[in-house]
């Protein structure tokens, strides 16, 4: 069995470690259990300390148009217009056939690109940060939502959308408020270890809710979580 010093060294290096050997030692050692609780309390403060406010100015990115780009001739514009129109028709056809599936795939792809958001924690984001993210989508959250541990305004399908992580008894749950994406009925999906649902919100697009649940042990909790979140959302328009 792992000794106390080794346990404390390893848990101090990674307090959120899910290593079964660490868990086994902690379960069998009251002192190290207490040590871990103290460490996790410190970790919460550390996370808050590191999250200094970093307001992003409106115009920050330095990219400029390439000097080599020349204005096109008119016939080329026609060709482009025709190509774009063709693409739109084809895309719309695909979209009509598989709307839920493609939206779900995009949601999962987006989530997979932000693994740091999935952290299990009891540290909530600052109210100012959360409000900044929600403002553009014209909504706010009541305390009934629970601990919102991550809030970012993300680029998704050509729009900025709120990407939130809410801590629930079933673990971290990600929520994307998709005011620009309408779905006709709830769509459940299970892709790449992510399980979730996209539900319609009449007049406000849809909401995607998903969790990392490859074993499917918490998927039944999703409906309750969705109901809780819908109750917590207050639309301001």
């Amino acid at each position: 069995m792992m000794d106390h010093a080794r346990y404390r060294m390893l848990i101090s290096a990674d307090p959120h470690s899910s290593d079964p050997q660490l868990r086994a030692h902690r379960d069998g050692c009251a002192e190290c259990g207490l040590y871990t609780q103290q460490l996790l309390r410190f970790e919460s403060r550390l996370e808050r300390a590191l999250k200094v406010d970093m307001p992003t100015p409106a115009a920050v990115l330095p990219f400029t148009r390439p000097a080599a780009a020349r204005p096109p001739k008119s016939w080329r514009w026609l060709a482009i217009a025709a190509s774009v129109l063709l693409c739109i028709v084809v895309a719309a056809g695909i979209w009509i056939v598989l709307p839920g599936a493609s939206l779900a795939a995009d949601v999962v792809a987006h989530m997979a690109g932000e693994p740091q958001a999935w952290k299990l924690t009891d540290v909530a984001v600052a109210d100012t940060e959360l409000n900044d993210v929600l403002r553009d989508s014209q909504l706010r959250l009541t305390g009934a939502a629970g601990i919102v541990s991550y809030a970012a305004s993300c680029a998704f399908r050509g729009h900025r959308v709120p990407h939130l992580v809410v801590q629930t008894p079933s673990g971290p749950v990600t929520v994307m408020v998709l005011v620009h994406e309408s779905v006709s009925r709830p769509t459940q999906f299970d892709e790449q270890g992510y399980r979730g649902t996209i539900v319609p919100v009449p007049g406000h697009g849809s909401i995607a809710v998903l969790m990392q649940d490859p074993g499917g042990t918490h998927v039944r909790d999703l409906q309750g979580i969705i109901a809780q979140l819908r109750d917590a959302i207050v639309w301001t328009r």
Binding site: R8, A13, L50, Q116
Partner: protein, 175 residues
């Protein structure tokens, strides 16, 4: 023409990607530099370098570690370009007081000051882990260290911070 359209789309996509990651990148640079103005310069310069080198980003999902690597190199270049004088951490803390102060919480302010005092070899892996969500293996790869070396640094980083905050560490929890 197709190149121009592709270029515009690519630029818009890359810009959106950078925009969404920018707050985290700025925070990382801030804890690296301990100077907000320098952090903004480093991130801005890094974005330009990233734009020029975007073809080397094969997977958008790996954008964050890719950009962090560019930022770390750009920060290192600031030392090559000019001789950075020895820093007085107390002066740095005073200068960044508005950033470090968490209005109603003296405790957080003290912890942030302790982070400023933490040597870079401990501060950097800690920020990568706690703020950026990197695993031990990812930190090891980014910093070119072994896994055990990363664990040791993270252990020492937390112990130093906890000691600085007056927490009593048990004998087994000491370095």
């Amino acid at each position: 023409m197709n190149d121009a359209i592709g270029g515009n789309q690519r630029r818009a996509r890359f810009q959106a990607l950078c925009q969404s990651l920018r707050p985290d990148l700025l925070r990382f640079a801030f804890w690296l530099c301990r100077d907000r103005a320098l952090a903004e310069d480093v991130v801005q310069e890094s974005m330009l370098r990233a734009w020029k080198a975007q073809d080397s980003l094969l997977d958008e999902g790996a954008a964050k570690p890719w950009l962090l690597t560019i930022i770390r190199r750009e920060y290192a270049r600031t030392f090559e370009r000019k001789r950075v004088p020895t820093v007085d951490v107390d002066e740095l803390i005073a200068k960044e007081e508005p950033m470090l102060a968490a209005a109603e919480e003296q405790d957080l302010r003290e912890l942030r000051a302790a982070l400023f005092n933490l040597p870079i070899e401990y501060r950097e892996p800690l920020v990568l882990q706690v703020l950026m969500g990197f695993s031990t293996a990812e930190i090891a790869r980014e910093l070119d260290l072994s896994g055990p070396a990363v664990l040791t640094r993270l252990f020492r980083a937390r112990n130093r911070l906890r000691a600085a905050m007056g927490e009593k560490l048990g004998a087994d929890g000491e370095e």
